[in-house]
């Protein structure tokens, strides 16, 4: 940190563009501590980026259980029927 630079000004230096570029890694907890703190501080002040962060996180939550893509009924039966033709 430069002489005279406060912690507040240092963590405020990240702009919206860079926050959005890192938002995916941030949500997954894959940014370093410094970047994490800067993004967190930015989100506390920027409703625009906060809305993008929250919406993106919500998307991940909604699809996380995998049930959005269902296997067609009878898929397993048909698969094993086809396998039977070569295994027996």
């Amino acid at each position: 940190m430069e002489k005279g630079e406060t912690m507040v000004s240092r963590i405020s230096t990240i702009d919206c563009e860079h926050v959005i570029l890192a938002i995916s890694d941030y949500i997954e907890g894959e940014v370093d501590l410094d970047l994490h703190d800067r993004i967190k501080a930015h989100l506390a002040e920027c409703n625009h980026c906060l809305a993008i962060h929250d919406g993106t996180r919500n998307v991940l939550t909604l699809v996380a259980d995998g049930s959005v893509l269902e296997v067609p009924a009878g898929f397993g039966t048909r698969l094993y029927s086809r396998l039977n033709s070569i295994l027996k």
Binding site: I20, S24, E28, H48, L62, D65, G66, I86
Partner: protein, 273 residues
């Protein structure tokens, strides 16, 4: 990235070259239930989601060594003549194989057919599998390659090739300026409209974004596994993933904020930007 057509063939050399990685794929790798949840209550920070996802992956990843050992033994026995054991080997990955095919083809019938072909191909080439990668990653890679071949074969005259699209710049994507989507109303979560909206959102993604989004975020594959299955770099996976997530958010946010709660086709834009 260029993806030459010949790469679409199951390349035993490249398949064998896959290195072991961190997270075991499973068709039921995550059991997070969203029904009735207030996300603001349950996931108040990035760390919370990270923990949730790690937990979801850990439920599968906690047993990779034993699973891989079991699978290695199964594969040995199958190759030695106990062919019927192939059912046991494939069973945990039925869904993953189908969904991987669907991520490329976006057609249930084609995806099922390709999934079957991929499983048969895995059986035919099982003796070439040396265990340097997880079986699941190898299987998904075969499936993706089969699906891409089908895609090219069926649609070459209709659409640009995957090769051309893979050369596109992975430029910055700027999310749209919708209203806040801080919470998901609990009544939305149980509606079929939500699932349909998710499916529409996924279908709206370009193939290269959809593949990554489905393997990583729907199937909970690791970044490393996703990269190997798609034959792209981990950095490329992350870039595509960011874009896919932001596009999904843009597709879903207005619906969550407006259409379903208000019952019409508009949403209230509460922010000026």
């Amino acid at each position: 990235m260029n993806l030459p057509a010949q790469k679409a063939h199951v390349d035993n050399q490249s398949v064998e070259a896959i290195t072991p990685d961190r997270c075991q794929l499973s068709s039921d790798s995550c059991n997070v239930t969203t029904s009735g949840l207030d996300l603001a209550e349950h996931f108040t920070s990035a760390d919370s989601l990270s923990s949730r996802q790690n937990q979801a992956k850990t439920s599968v990843a906690a047993q990779p060594q034993s699973v891989q050992e079991d699978e290695a033994l199964l594969i040995q026995r199958i190759c030695a003549g106990e062919k019927e054991l192939f059912y046991d080997l494939i069973k945990p990955y039925e869904r993953a194989v189908y969904v991987a095919a669907l991520s490329v083809l976006q057609n249930e019938s084609d995806a099922e057919e390709v999934a079957q072909e991929a499983v048969l191909k895995a059986f035919a080439n099982l003796s070439r599998f040396r265990g340097e990668a997880k079986f699941s990653t190898w299987l998904i890679q075969i499936t993706i390659n089969e699906a891409r071949m089908r895609y090219r074969k069926d649609r070459a005259h209709l659409y640009e090739s995957l090769d051309e699209r893979d050369t596109d710049q992975e430029g910055d994507y700027f999310p749209k300026d919708y209203a806040d989507w801080r919470e998901i109303p609990s009544e939305c979560l149980e509606r079929k409209e939500l699932r349909e909206a998710l499916l529409r959102g996924i279908a709206s993604l370009e193939t290269k974004y959809r593949e990554v989004f489905i393997l990583r975020d729907v199937q909970n594959m690791s970044i490393a596994d996703t990269a190997k299955a798609l034959n792209i770099s981990e950095a490329n996976v992350k870039t595509r993933l960011l874009r896919a997530r932001l596009m999904m958010r843009d597709v879903l946010a207005p619906g969550i904020d407006g259409v379903w709660s208000l019952g019409d086709n508009s949403w209230k834009k509460v922010r000026p930007w």
